[in-house]
């Protein structure tokens, strides 16, 4: 077995096991611990491991969703950190917890990491919650909602001749079709582009179908450094490149119709160094898929979001990590050799994390 060499770091690190909850509009009964617990139990079972095998734990979530402080500490009840474990948390999507775990696994003696992300979008008003990630002096006090900001971006793309409303509908149609084979998806059906174009505008030029669903959900991954990965799974999904870049926080300081941070991250992750079989792009709004695809230079031969992507299921703080899961699953089952996983955070694609996953040849 020839493990593909990593572009960054010195130790090869692979995703070896994944688990995710079904995304639902509203999970009424379970609290965060009860939402997370079956997912963590499943990922350990998939890896044939117990909590005692794990050297490092990292999670991604935000207190703004639950409306209470230190909710990530409460969530540790689902994980079992006794005897004491090295543990960390990012106030970001679980994909960034994966990035921190990847960095940690570069250290000799740390071989196995558990990564998870969870979020219930149903507990509060997401439009108001997400407005609080904006500039607190000049932007947040006006409470602009995330759909209106995305609409500004979509309009900029149309104005610059980069896309049409029909293009957005075509993406939504394909996402819903792909989601029919994804048991965890929330929005899955057969609707043609022409049918979807009859939808009302949510905020022009974005029609209803271009918006992601509001989802509650959780996801978990186990990562292993070095050849131990082959003890867990025949075909580990090796992370051969990974990079995170950030665009300006102020919208006025950037061209919304492009994503320079994605381009830079994709370059550093080595996306164009070989053919990309599939790409799981964290594009919550349909037009953002076109934007990301252009920014990464992905051509027509790459299958985009075979899982249905965020238009089919979008649990906040887990949606990016799920992109890694969907990409890794396709490496592990042999249906892809080289895949891209992307996660975004912040308003209108401000932050972008790009990784290349590869199977051993």
């Amino acid at each position: 077995m020839s493990t593909p060499p990593p572009r960054q770091g010195t130790r090869p690190v692979a995703i070896v096991a994944c688990a995710q909850s079904k995304s639902e509009r509203r999970i009424e009964q379970a609290n965060e611990v009860e939402l997370l617990m079956p997912v963590v139990t499943e990922v350990y079972a998939n890896a044939g491991m117990t909590k005692d095998d794990v050297d490092f734990i990292c999670s991604g979530s935000t207190d703004y969703l639950i409306g209470g402080p230190f909710s990530f500490v409460t969530a540790l009840d689902a994980v079992g950190v006794w005897p004491p474990k090295a543990e960390s948390h990012v106030e970001m999507d679980g994909a960034w917890a994966l990035y921190e775990a990847w960095v940690t696994l570069q250290e000799e003696g740390k071989d196995v990491a558990l990564v998870y992300g969870f979020g219930k979008s149903s507990l509060g008003d997401l439009s108001r919650i997400l407005a609080l990630q904006l500039d607190p002096y000049t932007m947040a006090p006006m409470w602009p909602d995330q759909v209106s900001l995305a609409a500004l971006q979509a309009q900029a793309m149309i104005d610059q001749g980069l896309a049409t409303e029909e293009d957005f509908a075509r993406i939504a149609s394909r996402a819903r079709h792909n989601a029919l084979s994804n048991p965890n998806a929330q929005v899955a059906n057969e609707k043609t582009m022409e049918e979807l174009m009859k939808d009302d505008y949510a905020v022009a030029p974005l029609r209803r179908h271009t918006l992601p669903p509001l989802s509650d959900g959780a996801a978990a991954i186990i990562m292993v450094a070095g050849d131990r990965a082959y003890d867990v799974v025949d075909r580990p999904a090796w992370i051969t490149g990974i990079d995170h870049r950030v665009d300006a926080h102020a919208f006025g300081a950037r061209n919304l119709a492009e994503s320079r941070s994605t381009t830079k991250a994709a370059e550093n992750a080595g996306v164009s160094a070989g053919p990309v079989d599939i790409a799981e792009l964290h594009a919550p709004f349909a037009h953002q898929e076109i934007l990301l695809r252009r920014a990464m230079g992905l051509n027509e031969s790459t299958v985009i979001n075979p899982s249905g992507g965020p238009l089919a299921a979008n649990p906040l703080m887990a949606g990016g990590l799920i992109r890694f899961i969907e990409a890794a699953n396709r490496i592990m089952d042999g249906s892809a050799n080289r895949a891209v996983a992307h996660a975004t955070s912040g308003p209108v694609l401000q932050q972008n994390l790009v990784a290349v996953l590869e199977g051993a040849s």
Binding site: I27, E28, Q29, A30, N31, E32, V33, E34, M37, P38, V40, T41, K51, Y64, I66, G67, T74, L76, D77, A78, V79, G80, V81, W82, K120, S122, L123, G124, D125, R128, I129, L132, P136, Y137, A140, P141
Partner: protein, 168 residues
Amino acid sequence: MAAEETAQGPVTMLSTPIRLDYNFTAGVAQSKSLRGYAEGRFIGQRCPVCKKVYVPSRGSCPKDAVATTEEVVLPNTATVTTFCVVNVPFAGQSIEIPYITASILLDGADITFMGLIQGIAPEDVEMGLRVEAVWVPKEELGPTLASVKYFQPTGEPNREVSTFAEHL
């Protein structure tokens, strides 16, 4: 610009009120405890691995990372593991100072929670004090720990600290 600043002065402060409303999900396990309060009893859960009893339970054992499903009804009697005499007045205080807030370990439980102690002078409270829950009148019971009015001494001898040292 400079002229405007001179006329009105620079902006040095702005106030941006923020309000967010949330639904709270107690969860399956904690809901059982809350419903227990409405019936005037303590309901916890036992870990299937380490056998420890959590009250209220959040549905998992934080030590073993397994779901807790076995329900345990706990008695009204308890031990004060540690306590604090509150002498400082603060806004919204509803009880006359000085009063005692204590960590309460219900008999048969492995985790403490905060409770109010009444019926004993602050200077007489000691670690290991035996107490019992006094519930509000039946018609006032609700799914809240406020259904427990306070804990009062049972008159039994104090427990040795070594018998509950694990829970301090």
